[in-house]
């Protein structure tokens, strides 16, 4: 049973159950047909069974039920020549619809050819079924595995009263026309009707038309539908591949590979010599050739194509890619349609890439914003920032173990993570950073020491294996626009979170007293201090704020990444890059940096999706180069203060 057929059978079983719910009613027409053709039902032949199937189908629902059971191999024949439909333990008489018990029928096993005929007939009858759901299911099954018979059935079926179903049916009919219509003109018309469509079904319908195979020939084959001629040694056909093609078509002898040469030489060693050449000298390829030539001359080995013969043979032939489809008008139309589809497809992939990049950018933004705040205000790089992200993620995990309800635990975890990392940030500031004012490099190293310690503590407490942080059900799944464009809900949520934080940050900086004081301290700490602002307290608050946001970023990241003690490490370098590229001391810079890095990562990745390592390498190289042109980032700090 093919994969594609299985859903069809499930469908038929459903039909069966529906039918068995009906009151059992005798169907004399069916009974007559069965009685006349029992032998053929028992041993059907693909070539002759067609009319019989049509006859049975014409008898009504009971006939359909019988056909479904037959195709599903759940039709049995009892010793007293009654046909039974077997559904698990329940058996019914196919002709009368009456329940039967205690029988032990032999199951009928029609071959796949017969089953195919039966299924087509079934589908054809279902297309015109009065039940809309039934018709939709019939269309589904045709879409999965359509045949020329289906096409005929579709064409002959009466119009569907439901416009949506009719539209689906029209599309299906067009697709089947492309694949199965014998008339090239109508196929071309069908292809052109759908040209530019990006649906997977249309692309799948085009592919078989454009299948090619390679042939080698001395001259252009007149009758074949040639896709193009290939030059041996070009990008598409290497000379070795060309020779393989010749060998495959028996146009050339196998070439003498070094291994084959060595083996046949080894087989003919006599008195420490092969063909008169001492074995000891056979480390030299020229000596091997001499020995082989001698053997060939003596007739002890079969001649094989030498290198020059092989090259001559390659040059003596022409190479073509030939369509399996003989009609060139059809392939031309298909190719044009495919090109059209690919064009639109790449545009949509671009949009999808943009969405991916946007979500990546929001993650970087969330991870980097805390870093940017502390660096912008205090010129301090906090190497432990990554570990604050990790702490946030673990806070989320611990909350989840305490509160079973996922949504509730997430709602609790976000502020809790903020509180925990805010506190950690304040402690780090009071104990370490405050004492290292104006020594940025030493701060970097000291916070690195903290980072090592925190990472190891996390490892000691939570172990090295990854801890899951499961998102609530409403965050799972994806928003799908079409076959190409889709984005997972969780990433949308992170994007919203990033926007929220951008708004919150702007609000704090522009509208609150704290923001005013922070800006004052950033611009001129001495002056701010003389205005009664305590720069130390402001620095502590900003540091706490930055750390707290890292904690929330940690919860967000933990929702889609594994929570390990190394979680922070994975994001810290990207966060630094975001800050460096964006320019310090400006939230818009961080935003621009995150956007640039997010987009670039995705674009580079899309060139070679299997190799994310290479993508990251190129990303970093790009940043090093970028710094050459904008040493102060995309949005630099301006004015004379920045020059110092």
């Amino acid at each position: 049973m093919t994969h594609a057929a299985r859903p069809l059978i499930v469908l038929l079983l459903t039909v069966l159950t529906l039918l068995s719910a009906l009151p059992a009613a005798a169907n004399p027409a069916l009974r007559a047909v069965i009685a006349d053709n029992l032998d053929q039902i028992e041993r059907p032949s693909r070539t002759t069974v067609g009319p019989l199937i049509d006859q049975i189908a014409a008898t009504g629902p009971e006939g359909t039920a019988l056909l479904a059971a037959w195709a599903d191999r759940s039709l049995g024949l009892t010793d007293d020549r009654r046909l039974l439909i077997v559904d698990g333990d329940v058996m019914t008489d196919a002709a009368t619809g009456a329940p039967v018990s205690g029988a032990d029928p032999d199951m009928l096993r029609p071959n796949s050819g017969v089953r195919g005929l039966i299924e087509s007939a079934l589908v054809a009858s279902q297309i015109s079924d009065p039940d809309a759901a039934m018709r939709a299911q019939a269309l589904d099954s045709i879409a999965r595995a359509g045949t020329a018979d289906h096409l005929k059935a579709l064409r002959n079926a009466p119009p569907d009263p439901d416009p949506a179903l009719q539209a689906r049916r029209d599309r299906l009919q067009t697709l089947l026309t492309i694949q199965h219509d014998p008339d090239p003109a109508s196929r071309i018309a069908a292809i052109q009707a759908l040209s530019g469509d990006v649906g997977l079904d249309f692309r799948a319908a085009l592919n078989p038309l454009l299948v090619t195979r390679r042939i080698a020939a001395t001259d252009q084959p007149g009758d074949a539908n040639i896709a193009r001629e290939l030059t041996p040694g070009g990008d598409l056909l290497s000379r070795d591949a060309a020779y393989d093609l010749l060998k495959a078509q028996d146009l050339a002898q196998p070439r003498l590979t070094p291994a084959a040469q060595r083996d046949s030489l080894a087989a003919h060693i006599a008195d420490g010599k092969v063909g008169g050449v001492p074995v000891a000298t056979l480390g030299d390829p020229a000596a091997r050739d001499r020995a082989y030539d001698a053997l060939e001359a003596a007739g002890t080995v079969t001649p094989a194509a030498t290198e020059s013969e092989a090259q001559a043979a390659i040059d003596a032939h022409r190479y073509f890619e030939v369509y399996a489809e003989p009609d060139s008008d059809v392939t031309d139309a298909a190719r044009a349609a495919q090109r059209n589809a690919q064009l639109r497809l790449s545009a949509m992939k671009g949009i999808d890439l943009g969405l991916d990049a946007l979500s990546l950018a929001s993650i970087y933004f969330l991870a980097a914003i805390g870093l940017a705040i502390t660096f912008g205000v205090m010129r301090v790089i906090n190497m432990a920032h990554g570990e604050f992200i990790m702490m946030g993620a673990y806070t989320g995990y611990v909350t989840q173990t305490l509160i079973a309800d996922r949504t509730l635990s997430l709602i609790v975890a976000l502020p809790l993570a903020f509180a925990v990392t805010f506190a950690a940030g304040v402690v780090l500031y009071r104990l370490v950073i405050r004492h290292l004012a104006h020594r940025p490099l030493e701060t970097l190293l000291a916070t690195f020491g903290v980072s090592i310690a925190l990472q190891q503590i996390a490892k000691n407490v939570f172990g090295t294996q990854a801890r899951p942080l499961t998102s609530p059900a409403w965050l799972e799944g994806a928003i799908t626009v079409n076959d190409v464009i889709s984005i997972s809900t969780i990433r949308v949520a992170i994007f919203v979170l990033a926007l929220l934080f951008l708004g919150l940050f702007l609000f704090i900086m522009k509208r609150t007293r704290l923001g005013l004081e922070v800006r004052a301290v950033t611009q001129n700490p001495g002056m701010a201090a003389s205005m009664g602002i305590n720069p130390d307290r402001i620095a502590m608050m900003t540091f706490g704020l930055g750390s707290g946001i890292a904690g929330i970023a940690g919860v967000a990241i933990g929702l889609f990444a594994k929570v390990t003690s190394e979680l922070g490490q994975d994001y810290i370098v990207q966060s630094f890059m975001t800050v460096v590229v964006g320019g310090v001391g400006n939230i818009w810079g961080t935003l621009a940096g995150a956007g640039l890095i997010g987009v670039l990562s995705k674009v580079i990745e899309s060139f070679n999706p299997s190799n994310t390592l290479a993508a990251q390498t190129f990303m970093i190289l790009f940043i090093v180069i970028f710094i050459q042109f904008r040493p102060r980032g995309i949005i630099p700090q301006r004015g004379r203060a920045a020059e110092a």
Partner: protein
């Protein structure tokens, strides 16, 4: 002003060299191959590796302590040195093995067959059988030795030129060097970069052509080589930082802008020191990995370079002997604690297993050193030698804290 010979001007150099000589002789005398056998061969290897790390720390001190660039990319050069020598070690050894196995064939192998056999042996693990282009010189020891210097030197030169030219400095530059290391590590992690991906190069402890020499002897030979390299590297570094060149680079560290207005091409000086340090580090790496036996991209993790900075900071930066002391003390302590040999610390409520908690202790002690003893262990010597100068009104002026910054700090 009367001038004394170089060595007398720098008595610490003499002391370090003498100490190194005594150490080498002592280890030799205690080794299994040449002495009483009190030191197991594995310990000799650890000590030999420690000398290489000390050399890398000296180079780090040049860049950080004297020039003021906190380079978090030194391990990139260290590992590159190891990879370059590892290429020859692995190729030559595999070639010997393949040649030996092919000698049993009826027909002697052609050079091409030999090379294919070697490539298959080395790269089978990453699913490839071709010798990558970067292995073109792997058959030749002199060429690979040249590459030990040339590749890291060139990388430092290009990276330094780009970074210094755009006047990136301070924490920005540190992050950029870290990014460079990360990029290199990620590149090496790829299977198709030609360095066997995360398998790295292995079997490096077996030196081709020296199959008959026991590891006990080899380990002592490598210890000698490492000691000589450290001695020469130390001398070179001491010579560079003495005299006017040293004066200029310390001036760059303290106030780059002012040096520019004196007419010195600051970028050129930085480039020379950065490249020189990269090459010294590469030599240290080339001696380290044959003793370690294996090298893989994990060695380039940003954390490794930061450890180097930690050693120099704990030892005392801006003093070459501080770097040596820091590297030796901290790396030996590290291997003692993480090797599971340190006794567990039993507290009434918890037992501290050092294997788990050593990193925590190291991290925190590092914070403490930065906070309370910015001069590190070497500061102790200064204090003992009554060389605490100059008086700076109670304000320490480290490399990040130059003349101009003191003024601004007051402003």
């Amino acid at each position: 002003m009367q001038r004394k010979p170089f060595i007398l001007q720098n008595p610490s150099t003499l002391i370090v060299l003498a100490g190194l000589a005594v150490f080498t002789v002592a280890v030799t005398a205690l080794s299994q191959a040449y002495g009483t056998g009190a030191l197991p061969t594995s310990m000799v290897k650890v000590l030999g590796k420690t000398l290489c790390l000390a050399l890398a720390a000296v180079a780090m001190d040049l860049v950080w302590g004297y020039l003021g660039i906190l380079s978090l990319g030194q391990m990139a050069f260290f590992a590159l040195g190891g990879y370059m020598i590892g290429q020859w070690l692995m190729y030559a050894r595999t070639e010997a093995i393949v040649a030996a196995s092919m000698a049993n064939n009826a027909i002697p192998p052609t050079p091409l067959e030999l090379q294919e056999g070697v490539a298959n042996q080395i790269f089978g693990v990453v699913g490839s059988a071709d010798l990558p282009l970067v292995w073109s010189f792997a058959h030749s020891l002199p060429l690979q030795m040249l590459l030990v210097l040339a590749v890291p030197g060139l990388l430092a030169l290009v990276f330094g030129w780009l970074a210094f030219r755009s006047r990136v400095n301070g924490v920005y530059l540190s992050i950029l060097t870290q990014a460079m290391t990360l990029a290199l590590a990620l590149w090496l992690f790829q299977n198709d970069s030609g360095f066997r991906g995360n398998n790295g190069l292995s079997g490096l402890q077996n030196i081709p052509g020296l199959d008959t020499v026991s590891q006990a002897r080899l380990s002592v030979w490598f210890l000698w080589a490492s000691a000589v390299a450290l001695g020469l590297g130390y001398l070179l570094a001491a010579w560079v930082v003495s005299g006017k060149f040293g004066s200029v680079i310390r001036a760059i560290r303290d106030d780059e802008t002012r040096v520019r207005f004196l007419g010195y091409p600051v970028e050129g000086f930085k480039l020379v020191v950065f490249t020189l340090a990269a090459m010294i580090t590469a030599i240290a790496g080339a001696l380290y990995y044959p003793q370690a036996g294996i090298i893989n991209p994990a060695e380039l993790a940003p954390i490794a370079s930061i450890y180097l900075a930690v050693w120099v900071a704990i030892g005392g930066r801006g003093r070459l002997y501080g770097a040596v002391i820091g590297a030796v003390v901290v790396s030996l302590l590290s291997s003692w604690f993480t090797g599971g040999r340190a006794p567990d610390l039993s507290l009434p409520f918890y037992t501290i297993k050092w294997v788990d908690w050593w990193l925590v202790a190291l991290g925190l002690s590092f914070v403490l050193v930065t906070l309370f003893a910015p001069r590190g262990i070497a500061g102790l010597f200064d204090w003992l030698g009554r060389a605490v100068s100059p008086r700076r009104q109670g304000r320490d002026l480290g490399p990040d804290h130059g003349a101009l910054q003191e003024q601004e700090a007051k402003a």
